[in-house]
């Protein structure tokens, strides 16, 4: 069930009513939200509901055992249960997401005579998101950062439909209090929620879909058939497309959760205004980068050791971050580029480059890495890069509207938070009815400007 569809609209109205009606009754509310979330997930493929339930049950049970071991000061038991939970989660990811990739590479390495069996499994939607949330729960339990959750609370947390399939990756410590504490039904933040939903829909339906169909897909499919301008614009276009697509989804998810009385963490903070790669990763997919920092980079040693160890830790973190997105060499290369760029940033002396130059360098390193992220294969990425330098093709997709859309979207990154807040406050001044009418008109305009049909969100595949 995609967010920008009528089916989701109807589903959400029903869930909204049930949510607020059942909120005074904790057990009924939990069962209702869990049921709605499983229904939402089953819409894609009902078989994978069992996988989700397995992740819920196994991690919750491991969590209870970790807590018990902690209380009895059984360090070995705590470690064993934590390891069991993490291995179990990685096994789910490994089987569904990575097995075929490694089996294929190994088969090709060993030669034609040795072929490892391939599973050819369909990738369950959102698997990387809910397994990472589950891992954060058991690790935080061990670190005593979160209290053990009752089963239904944990089930609601892991399966909560607004963030189930493409994040943000919400920590148990952020969700648990919101599940137990009943929000005030007289204070639904409708203005902010409607604004976020409309903004997300606009980014997805209008900007992302339009750039994909009018620029990016064509350039990446046939870079040699386009001029160098076209290809360069296509790369910039993809940077905007993926930002609009993913941050659009996050906006909608946060808005939808807000209407149900939940506040999710920020996942994007104007990433294309970053003046360094380090700054970029504090602004792009924040919940993933902070997850990688807290559960991978810091346990590896972070920047506590010698410089060379810090660089190693950075590289490992970024490469695994790349692999998190998908089991292809291109994602690994994407992570590697970011890892190397972060190391180079640390190696270079802190000069006094003007902010505009730093911005230009950062933006182009990010765009360079996006080429590998988007390309179908390594050779396709090289084709795109070489076509930027010199291409025999002609101008086919370069146009003023394309250029303006890219420039305008980058420009929005520099709008201050105060201005956004002013707009929200302006929306707040209107009655709920006026807000609803403005929301309705916004939906019509988005549908009018958007292309026919809605492509799935890019991050669903991760």
């Amino acid at each position: 069930m995609l967010f920008p569809t009528l089916a989701f609209g109807l589903f959400f109205v029903a869930v909204y009513v049930l949510n607020w009606l059942t909120r005074p009754h904790p057990l009924v509310w939990r069962v209702t939200i869990l049921g709605a979330s499983l229904f939402f997930y089953a819409w894609w493929n009902w078989r994978f509901v069992f996988l989700l339930l397995w992740a819920v049950i196994s991690n919750w049970y491991a969590g209870t055992q970790i807590e018990r071991s902690l209380r009895s000061e059984n360090t070995q038991g705590t470690r064993n249960w934590l390891l069991t939970a993490i291995v179990g989660d990685l096994l789910i990811l490994g089987v569904f997401k990575y097995y075929d990739f490694f089996a294929l590479e190994l088969s090709n390495l060993l030669g034609a005579d040795t072929t490892l069996p391939l599973l050819e499994l369909t990738l369950p939607v959102g698997i990387s998101f809910f397994t990472f949330q589950a891992m954060s729960y058991v690790i935080d339990l061990k670190r005593d950062l979160v209290k053990p959750m009752p089963f239904l609370d944990f089930a609601v947390y892991l399966s909560f439909f607004p963030q189930l399939v493409a994040g943000p990756i919400v920590r148990a410590s952020e969700m648990a209090p919101q599940i137990t504490q009943r929000p005030d039904p007289r204070r639904v933040q409708s203005a902010e929620a409607f604004h976020l939903i409309l903004r997300g829909l606009f980014k997805k339906v209008v900007i992302s879909s339009w750039l994909a169909s009018n620029l990016v897909d064509s350039v990446f499919a046939n870079p040699d058939g386009h001029s160098s301008h076209d290809v360069l614009l296509g790369v910039y276009g993809y940077a905007i497309q993926i930002y609009a697509d993913f941050s659009g989804y996050t906006d909608i998810a946060i808005g939808v959760a807000l209407l149900l009385g939940f506040r999710f963490p920020t996942n994007f903070d104007c990433p294309y205004r970053a003046l360094s790669l380090r700054d970029f990763w504090k602004r792009w997919h924040i919940t993933l980068s902070s997850w990688l920092r807290d559960y991978l980079y810091i346990p590896l040693g972070g920047n506590r050791g010698r410089n060379v160890e810090t660089y190693r830790n950075l590289l490992i973190t970024m490469i695994l971050g790349g692999l998190w997105h998908g089991s292809t060499w291109n994602f690994i290369i994407w992570g590697l580029i970011h890892g190397v760029a972060l190391i180079v940033e640390r190696l270079l002396p802190k000069g006094n480059l003007p902010p505009a130059v730093r911005w230009l360098i950062t933006f182009h390193v990010v765009c360079f890495a996006w080429v590998f992220f988007r390309a179908e294969s390594f050779s396709n990425a090289l084709d795109v890069l070489s076509a930027i330098a010199a291409s025999p093709g002609s101008d086919q997709v370069s146009s003023l509207p394309v250029l303006l859309l890219i420039a305008a979207t980058v420009g929005t990154q520099f709008i201050s938070k105060a201005q956004t807040e002013q707009f929200r406050q302006w929306s707040n001044q209107h009655s709920a009815l006026t807000q609803g009418v403005m929301f309705g008109i916004g939906l019509v305009l988005i549908d009018l400007f958007g292309p026919e049909g809605v492509a799935p969100f890019i991050y669903f595949q991760f």
Partner: protein, 360 residues
């Protein structure tokens, strides 16, 4: 690049939000308003759905709403917007003679549907390059007059069309164009009228080679010229579908020097879907066999493993396993697209007698 100085934010009377019931009321009013303003678009979308309970329910909801909204002039802002964006429907292409059939179903009483009945072939003033090539087998094309190849079809084309064009245009004597239309096919001309589009392309661009690929969305009930739903794969359905396939082939083959490649469906991972696609492949082959300039391209052998079954991973010529299909078990991957493109190029070379075209 400088951050704008933060401005003082005035408090608002409703910054603490509203009661859930009032938000529901406001949101519902907004959604109903959006549904009314958008009702013509929603009704059109419902009509495009496959013949199913979902379609019936959607029509039952949107038809009266659209009628009410239309009578209250609530649909005009959307129509105006469409017009301003230049999305007003084009006139039917001149090459087609169309019969206007009145819908008689309970849900479409005042609607009309265009059903393609026949094609009026235009006389071409200039002979195609292929005709001159056939009489004298030397290259008849140059950079100013390239071999024109068009690839038309559904989402399958989206996954290999541009790759094919890229590979074909390795020769400077070739000008390729790929035009996929997602979710389209020959079963639902009310969604996208492929016969009309194919005729338009033949008329305007006069391609030398046409690659056509349909079927992925076609295993559904279709409406005949009498506006009756024909059940999928029933005898009347097969008869009507074959007629449509043959009709498109005839449009594309209006120049008997043109090479038409009709690409069959590859094996699919879902057993039921695969069976349906095999049935369609049989129909394509039968129709192609009846026409001299239409060549059916069979894909099953290219995309099956040694046991003749669907496989996502297959060995390439060097024995290295590559993923030729996407995880959806339907579409071709980048590598699958390359394989198909190579096959098509070799077929074009063989059929045109210009094996060295891509060695230029």
């Amino acid at each position: 690049m400088q951050k704008t100085p933060d401005s003082r934010i005035e408090g608002s009377p409703h910054s603490n939000g509203f009661a859930a019931g009032r938000v529901l009321l406001g949101g519902s009013v907004g959604l109903i308003l959006a549904a009314c303003l958008n009702s013509s678009s929603l009704l059109a979308e419902a009509k495009r759905l496959p013949d199913s309970a979902n379609r019936a329910v959607s029509l039952a909801v949107w038809t009266p709403l659209e009628a009410a909204a239309s009578s209250l002039k609530l649909t005009w802002p959307r129509e105006l917007g469409e017009r301003l964006l230049g999305r007003a429907e084009d006139e039917p292409p001149i090459t087609l003679v169309r019969e206007r059939t009145e819908f008689t179903s309970e849900t479409d009483s005042d609607q009309t549907e265009l059903v393609v009945e026949s094609v009026q072939r235009e006389q071409r003033s200039e002979p195609s390059s292929l005709s001159s090539m056939n009489s004298a087998p030397e290259l008849a094309w140059d950079e100013n007059n390239p071999l024109k190849i068009w690839v038309l079809g559904d989402s399958m084309v989206q996954f290999f069309g541009e790759t094919f064009v890229s590979m074909a245009e390795q020769s400077s004597l070739v000008d390729g164009t790929s035009e996929p239309r997602l979710s389209s096919g020959l079963s639902r001309p009310d969604y996208f009228d492929w016969p009309a589009r194919v005729a338009q392309v033949m008329d305007e661009y006069d391609p030398d080679v046409v690659v056509l690929m349909f079927g992925g969305n076609d295993a559904q009930n279709i409406r005949d010229a009498d506006n009756q739903w024909l059940e999928r794969f029933g005898e009347p359905w097969v008869e009507e579908y074959r007629r449509r396939v043959g009709f498109v082939m005839d449009i594309a083959a209006d120049d008997d020097q043109r090479i038409i490649l009709w690409v069959g469906q590859p094996p699919m991972s879902g057993a039921g879907f695969d069976t349906r696609m095999q049935l369609l492949n049989e129909l394509y082959q039968m129709e192609a066999d009846e026409r001299e300039s239409v060549h059916y391209i069979e894909l099953r052998s290219l995309f099956t493993d040694t046991s003749g079954e669907y496989s996502r991973y297959l060995p390439d010529t060097s024995g290295k396993l590559v993923d030729v299909r996407l995880s959806d078990g339907v579409h071709l991957s980048h590598w699958g697209g390359k394989w198909l493109s190579e096959l098509l190029l070799s077929e074009i070379s063989r059929l045109s007698g210009l094996g060295d075209l891509w060695q230029q």
